[in-house]
């Protein structure tokens, strides 16, 4: 057994796992408040997946047309199919205006209006006067908004003197005997050395996990590592049945073609050349919310109106838009068309199909980013010293379906809010000393599991094979549409995959940059998420937002206005109610969702 007692130990006030927008916004606030903060990231920070966000960040600045945070709030609640918590959504939409201006002050190179203000474009699900007309709310830096925000936040962290542990992989949370957080065991990817980072607070900001599905818009690194750690620590994951399929991924490949393409006037067409969205969303057509558009495309293809020799996709048509506008406002996605398809969207329509894009669920938190679990009687209770922000967290502002432009907003708003709460607590409450005894056995167990050698003359299958089979199984069994039968058979398949994974031994046991070992740890995390997803989705006998069941086609507010909480132990599911009371304004009661 690996002996972790003698490993190098470092001490910090706060350790953040993940260096995307959420982790970096938190780190910046903490560093500027003179807290000792370390950011652990398995890739160099600017390689984080925030870099790939294209279209923009929502804020009711009203730079183009009149706007109001209250309308933004209404749109977000409606977009969430009423599963979003209204207090959190109000908080996010109110903060949006100031936090986007703050990003601009940090140096984000936003595109500009003629008056020199931040440029905004229309996006799906946005309205003025509570559904009356289309709003123009998404602040954009061409179609590289995520890149611009991530680089800027990293730059500001350089200025603030944040400590970075680049290319370190987080193995497991370490808890003391009372279950309180005491730090993190990490693996230096470059050397293979294991280290203990002791800290008063651990913040998980590990982003999304759409590598769970075969076709996805996500970076290779999006494997839900923070969520796996939380499950192993006995804590729940919330609303894992809700995975967003982005309507316009490049067909059969998955790269994202931003909703900005439709915001700037792009139109979806089927094999008959028909702009079919008018049938599904008569008022806003191509700018309906993503779950609605994704289902519409899937239905068009299913009913035989798909394009191409296999009739397996539809077309995103921008050819009627001025080429100069495309080059100025959508240069990145034009590049994607040119690079991956050899097509210039100025002259040719682009094949698209829904692709796994975003995880609405995640680690349950409150408005301060504190991780929440349920006590024995089912009362929400925060976990001391543990925070989660960004896509890996579920606060929940996106409910059953996230609106475009709200994910970049979520990461900076709650990144900052959580950091402020941590600073407040560290400054006002006495903290435990660093010398408490920590339980390192879980981390040691994981490290040892993957240190087992191959038996002589007995090669096992590879991590890559099992990951591939998992991704295909999830896509087939729990994709845009799912039902009891598809998920029951998926569940059996997951058990087989787990058995296969248990037998796998690594071919490579070297220390420096051992990618195979890294992929093994990642696959374990993905397996945990797969199980959480399928158990949560099987239990929810309704269709809501991105969770679209063929066997229960209606939304069931009477029974299902509640959040699912999945615990690893015995695959237990518990529930907590949706918060329908906002902070200062009146509740938006559920109603039929028409676009």
């Amino acid at each position: 057994m690996t002996n972790l007692d003698a490993i190098d130990t470092f001490h910090f006030d706060v350790v953040i796992v993940g260096a995307g927008g959420a982790g970096l916004r938190s780190a910046l606030e903490l560093s500027k408040s003179d807290q000792q903060v370390a950011v652990v990231s398995k890739v160099f920070p600017t390689r984080s997946h925030t870099v790939a966000a294209q279209g923009g960040i929502n804020a009711a600045l009203g730079n183009i047309t009149e706007d109001n945070w209250h309308w933004h709030m209404y749109d977000t609640i409606k977009g969430s199919d009423y599963l979003g918590d209204q207090d959190a959504i109000e908080f996010m939409c109110r903060e949006a205006i100031e936090i986007v201006r703050e990003l601009e002050h940090f140096g984000v190179p936003f595109s500009r209006t003629d008056e020199g203000k931040i440029y905004q474009r229309p996006f799906g699900g946005q309205s003025r006067h509570f559904g009356e007309s289309q709003a123009t709310r998404t602040c954009a830096a061409a179609d590289r908004t995520g890149h611009a925000i991530l680089q800027t936040l990293y730059q500001q962290n350089i200025h603030a003197g944040t400590s970075f542990f680049d290319e370190y992989f987080a193995i497991d949370l370490v808890l003391d005997d009372e279950g309180n957080v005491g730090g993190l065991v990490v693996l230096n990817i470059q050397t293979g050395q294991v280290q203990l980072l002791r800290s008063h607070v651990v913040m998980i900001a590990t982003g999304g996990a759409c590598q769970l599905f075969k076709t996805n818009t996500n970076a290779k690194i999006n494997t839900g590592d923070g969520l796996g750690m939380v499950l192993r620590a006995g804590l729940p994951l919330q609303d894992m049945e809700f995975w967003q399929f982005h309507p316009t991924g490049v067909a059969n490949k998955g790269m994202l073609l931003s909703e900005a393409a439709r915001g700037e006037g792009g139109v979806l067409r089927n094999a008959d050349g028909e702009a079919f969205m008018v049938k599904y969303a008569p008022h806003v057509k191509d700018l309906a919310s993503r779950d609605v558009v994704a289902r519409a495309i899937a239905i068009e293809v299913k009913e035989g109106r798909g394009c191409g020799p296999k009739k397996d996709h539809v077309l995103l048509d921008l050819t009627h838009i001025d080429a100069e506008v495309i080059k100025k406002r959508l240069p990145g996605i034009r590049d994607i068309g040119l690079t991956f398809l050899g097509l210039d969207m100025c002259d040719a329509a682009i094949p698209v199909y829904p692709t796994a894009h975003y995880m609405m669920g995640g680690i349950p938190t409150n408005l301060k980013g504190q991780v929440v679990t349920l006590d024995e009687v089912g009362k929400p209770q925060s976990v001391k010293g543990l925070y989660a922000v960004g896509e890996c967290a579920c606060v929940s502002v996106h409910g059953a379906n996230r609106l475009g432009g709200n994910s970049l907003l979520d990461i900076v708003v709650f990144g900052r809010a959580a950091a402020k709460d941590i600073v407040h607590n560290l400054e006002t409450k006495p903290v435990d000393h660093f010398d408490k005894t920590l339980n390192l056995s879980k981390a040691a167990e994981r490290l040892n599991r993957w240190a087992q050698p191959q038996e002589k003359n007995h090669k096992t299958e590879t991590i890559a094979e099992i990951r591939h089979d998992l991704q295909v199984a999830m896509q087939v069994g729990c994709g845009v549409f799912r039902n009891e039968e598809s998920m029951q058979s998926l569940l059996k398949e997951l058990e087989v995959l787990q058995d296969r994974l248990d037998l796998v031994r690594l071919h490579d046991h070297s220390n420096a940059f051992n990618l195979e070992r890294l992929e093994a740890f990642e696959l374990e995390n993905l397996m945990g998420l797969a199980t959480a997803t399928v158990y949560s989705a099987l239990a929810r006998t309704e269709s809501r937002g991105a969770h679209s069941r063929v066997d229960f086609t209606e939304r069931d507010d009477e029974n299902w206005m509640k959040h699912s909480l999945y615990f690893l132990e015995n695959h237990q599911l518990r529930y907590k109610p949706v918060t329908t009371k906002p902070l200062t304004v009146e509740t938006f009661p559920p109603k039929a969702r028409v676009y």
Binding site: R47, V51, E98, D114, I221, A464, L515
Partner: protein, 234 residues
């Protein structure tokens, strides 16, 4: 198709050696990118090591030297390469393992140019106004993804990697020098005015030729030089 790839494992090798891999034509689709091919080769030999993340040319992880040219594997089409494909790590920086290089020196230069906006005191009730023309000056500089293809193709950087900032860091410096919101332009130009940091650029243009994002660091460096000159004249 044949691939000749530099291999180096610090635990057993004294110096890099070349390993020959073969991918059958039927395994190579017409639109396969080099990253996809490398992933297939990893199935043959799971010890083969390279960085990658976004798979679409926006994160900058997978810079490598392919048939003599620095590129990102995820946006390099295999069908456009001649066989054998000779793959080496980006040149001029220490190798950690196989195609993975130690970029610390590269990042140090980036940090040295103070790559962060230093504006006038903030007023969160308003954004700092910037005309579309002022904003346009950032185009061509802010899109850099720090992949390192430019600096590691620059002979001046090879000769003086610890003293010459290199094209990527200088492009970042340019981005903040020309930003109308930054109030430290003069300090920035003074800090760059040095025979090594900036003026080791000999206009070789390898940086611009190798940038996978189509940026022009060479032009940015020339602009910096002109601005320094103008500053001396006033």
């Amino acid at each position: 198709m044949e691939f000749l790839i530099d291999r180096f494992n610090p635990e057993v090798d004294e110096k890099p050696h070349v390993q020959r891999f073969v991918l059958e034509d039927c395994d190579i689709g017409g639109d396969m990118m080099l990253l996809g091919a490398l992933e297939k080769l990893r199935e043959q030999d799971p010890t083969l090591t390279f960085r990658s993340s976004c798979k679409e040319g926006v994160c900058g992880s997978d810079g490598m030297n392919v048939n003599g040219q620095n590129r990102l594997s995820c946006i390099t089409r295999v069908s456009e390469l001649t066989s054998p494909v000779v793959i080496k790590p980006l040149p001029g920086l220490p190798v950690i393992k196989d195609l993975v290089i130690d970029m610390e020196l590269f990042y140090q230069h980036y940090r040295d140019v103070k790559p962060y906006l230093q504006p006038a005191p903030k007023d969160l009730d308003h954004e700092i106004l910037q005309t579309p023309e002022e904003r346009e000056k950032l185009d061509g500089s802010y899109e850099c993804i720090l992949c390192g293809c430019c600096s590691t193709s620059c002979p001046s950087f090879w000769w003086n990697p610890d003293k010459f900032h290199g094209p990527a860091a200088l492009l970042a410096a340019h981005r903040f020098v020309v930003d109308s919101r930054d109030i430290t332009t003069r300090d920035r130009l003074e800090a760059l005015d040095d025979p090594y940091k900036t003026f080791r650029c000999r206009n070789i243009q390898n940086c611009t030729a190798s940038c996978p994002k189509g940026l022009n660091p060479s032009r940015a460096i020339n602009e910096l030089k002109s601005m320094m000159l103008a500053k001396q004249l006033d």
